[in-house]
């Protein structure tokens, strides 16, 4: 038995998500191998080889993998998939785009978003926005799995010394081409791996008011998130959305500001260690999951909070 993991990386660095997928794979018997596919990706492969618990790194270095095109990555993975009993992905936008393709190519079920490895063939995954946890068992020859990264504590990025083996790039698809991207640039920690997250909802009223959250985020080295309502209203871009159909976060501290606490939002943050809610409506459902609730107008509370943090 052995597990192959699609490593995720950008700008020459591994994404933190990959370290959590390695953690999940360590619960499976056998070796853990990482596939690094990318353009000029030797440096990333060398970093991957240092991850604690990784036994081998496969490097597919080709301009074809400059962008995360599902068809091309899937063909690459399947070309090296022989002999692996498990193929793991992070349950990120990139991972979700590819994982089911691999399952279909191998004619096996895909297992989305696992939060627990019970044994080599049995996993736990949330369904219904996390209001139920399904224990599922696979009899397929290969287990193709998406890993909810917030449920597995990242392994150390250093400490390993795996060999890097170069592999041939696979054929690419002529049905799809990359056109462009609009990516957010921020010096803040990445939302899904930040220790502190402060999110704003419809109560923020507009995008300008998110500056108040930015100010507090700077003081706490936090990432800024949002509810769907805030994204739909155009206050902040889509990548801020926390929830069932956005990003799942589980920081040490989550601060929800002007967010009511709909099922779909809770699904993305209820595994946070400490939850704070600031809302002027004492009946808001967010208070049912909050460790500390403050019933207040956010336009009073946020400036006060900013000042208090300076003390």
């Amino acid at each position: 038995m052995s597990t192959l993991i699609l490593a995720e990386h950008e700008g020459g660095e591994l994404r933190p998500a990959t370290l959590s997928v390695v953690a999940a794979a360590q619960a499976i018997s056998g070796d853990v191998h990482l596939l690094v596919a990318g353009k000029d990706a030797k440096g990333v492969a060398d970093k991957a080889a240092k991850i604690a618990g990784v036994d081998k790194v496969l490097l597919a270095d080709s301009a074809d993998y400059e962008h995360e095109i599902a068809e091309n990555l899937a063909a690459m993975i399947v070309s090296v998939a022989d002999g692996y009993s498990h193929i793991f992905f992070a349950a990120t936008a990139a991972g979700k785009n590819v994982m089911p393709r691999i399952a279909a190519m191998l004619d096996v079920s895909g297992i989305s978003d696992i939060t627990e490895v019970r044994s080599d063939d049995t996993f736990v995954r949330p369904i219904y926005a996390g209001n139920a946890m399904a224990t599922v068992q696979s009899s397929d020859a290969v287990k193709v799995v998406g890993v909810r990264t917030t449920s597995f504590e990242a392994v150390a990025a250093e400490g390993g010394s795996a060999a890097v083996e170069t592999v041939e790039a696979a054929a690419i698809s002529d049905q799809v081409s990359f056109v462009g991207q609009e990516l957010s640039t921020s010096d803040r920690p990445e939302l899904t791996s930040a220790d502190v997250v402060i999110s704003g909802g419809r109560g923020m009223q507009n995008g300008e008011n998110f500056a108040m959250l930015d100010d507090i985020a700077s003081k706490l080295n936090a990432a800024v998130g949002a509810s769907r309502a805030a994204v739909d209203a155009g206050f902040v871009p889509n990548e801020y959305q926390v929830g069932q159909t956005g990003k799942v976060v589980a920081p040490n501290l989550y601060i929800a500001v002007g967010i009511s606490g709909a099922i779909q939002h809770l699904a993305g943050m209820k595994d946070s260690k400490v939850i704070v809610a600031i809302n002027k409506d004492e009946e808001a459902p967010i208070f049912q999951v909050a460790d500390y609730g403050l019933v207040a107008d956010l336009f009073d509370a946020l400036p006060e909070l900013s000042a208090e943090l300076d003390k």
Binding site: A94, M99, A104, P126, V136, E239, T245, Q288, L305
Partner: protein
């Protein structure tokens, strides 16, 4: 060009799921069921494409129990032209659903298939991607904008760091994200008209598709509950608790 849209009947998004006491699944008797919200967005997008003159027929497909006819009727009332139900009482895994869609695609030869990115009951986010492999049609997931460009589509996609755009050749499979459009409501006269639209029912056995998969649900449990917390009286008290009690800042 024909467009196939997937419309799944799911527990309404406003209803909190309750685990059955025998742990076999979720209580679905006597609760409000609705069309998967991402599928409403799929239907809307298909209708707009047809209205713009880029398609001539929109076919709403559901796979599930007999009651899924209501979900198809909702799509027909929104404006879809006809419906197909593949009827089964079994809860099928995504791979089986994808194979059943492929069966219909082989028969109907659509130029475009629009599905939701995720069904809000199983939260799988798999079927569009699987179907792309099974049919060889191009894949464009998590779409927030779809534009026609000759025999290609330009699709803007919601990704973790922002937006990405790709160009894919037709025929293609698109899965919808939340910002693609705002679905219309069905108007009363259209609800009446929808009752007369064609809706074919195919028993799953008649498709000849092998719907067995290697994945089984052993049990379904409640998630761990969070203890209710405290209401603090002031920002100062909040910061004090975070510093000295929870020790998280």
């Amino acid at each position: 060009m024909k467009i196939i849209v997937g419309v799944k009947r799911v527990l309404d998004y406003n209803v909190k799921a309750r685990v059955k006491s025998d742990k076999s699944g979720i209580e679905l008797a006597n609760v409000k069921m609705s069309m998967n919200p991402f599928d409403e967005i799929a239907v809307e997008e298909a209708l707009r494409i047809k209205e713009a003159g880029n398609a001539d027929e929109v076919i709403a497909v559901s796979i599930g129990a007999s009651q899924s006819q209501e979900t198809i009727r909702t799509a027909l009332a929104m404006g879809a032209d006809r419906g197909i139900l593949i009827e089964t009482d079994e809860l099928l895994q995504p791979l089986a659903i994808a194979k059943l869609f492929k069966h219909l695609i082989d028969k109907e030869s659509p130029g475009l298939v629009i599905l939701g990115k995720q069904a809000i009951d199983d939260d799988s986010n798999q079927i569009g991607q699987m179907l792309s492999v099974l049919t060889g049609m191009s894949q464009a997931t998590f779409a927030s904008k779809v534009e026609f460009d000759g025999d290609h589509l330009k699709v803007t996609r919601e990704v973790d760091a922002g937006l990405e755009s790709i160009k894919v050749s037709l025929p293609a499979i698109v899965t919808t994200d939340l910002r693609l459009n705002e679905p219309r409501y069905a108007k009363l006269p259209n609800i009446m008209k929808a009752k007369k639209k064609q809706l074919d029912i195919i028993p799953v056995a008649d498709t000849g598709v092998d719907v067995s998969t290697g994945l089984k649900v052993i049990e379904v449990n409640e998630p761990p509950k969070r203890e209710a917390g405290v209401i603090v009286k002031s920002v100062a008290e909040l910061v004090d608790k975070l510093r000295n009690e929870a020790k998280v800042i």
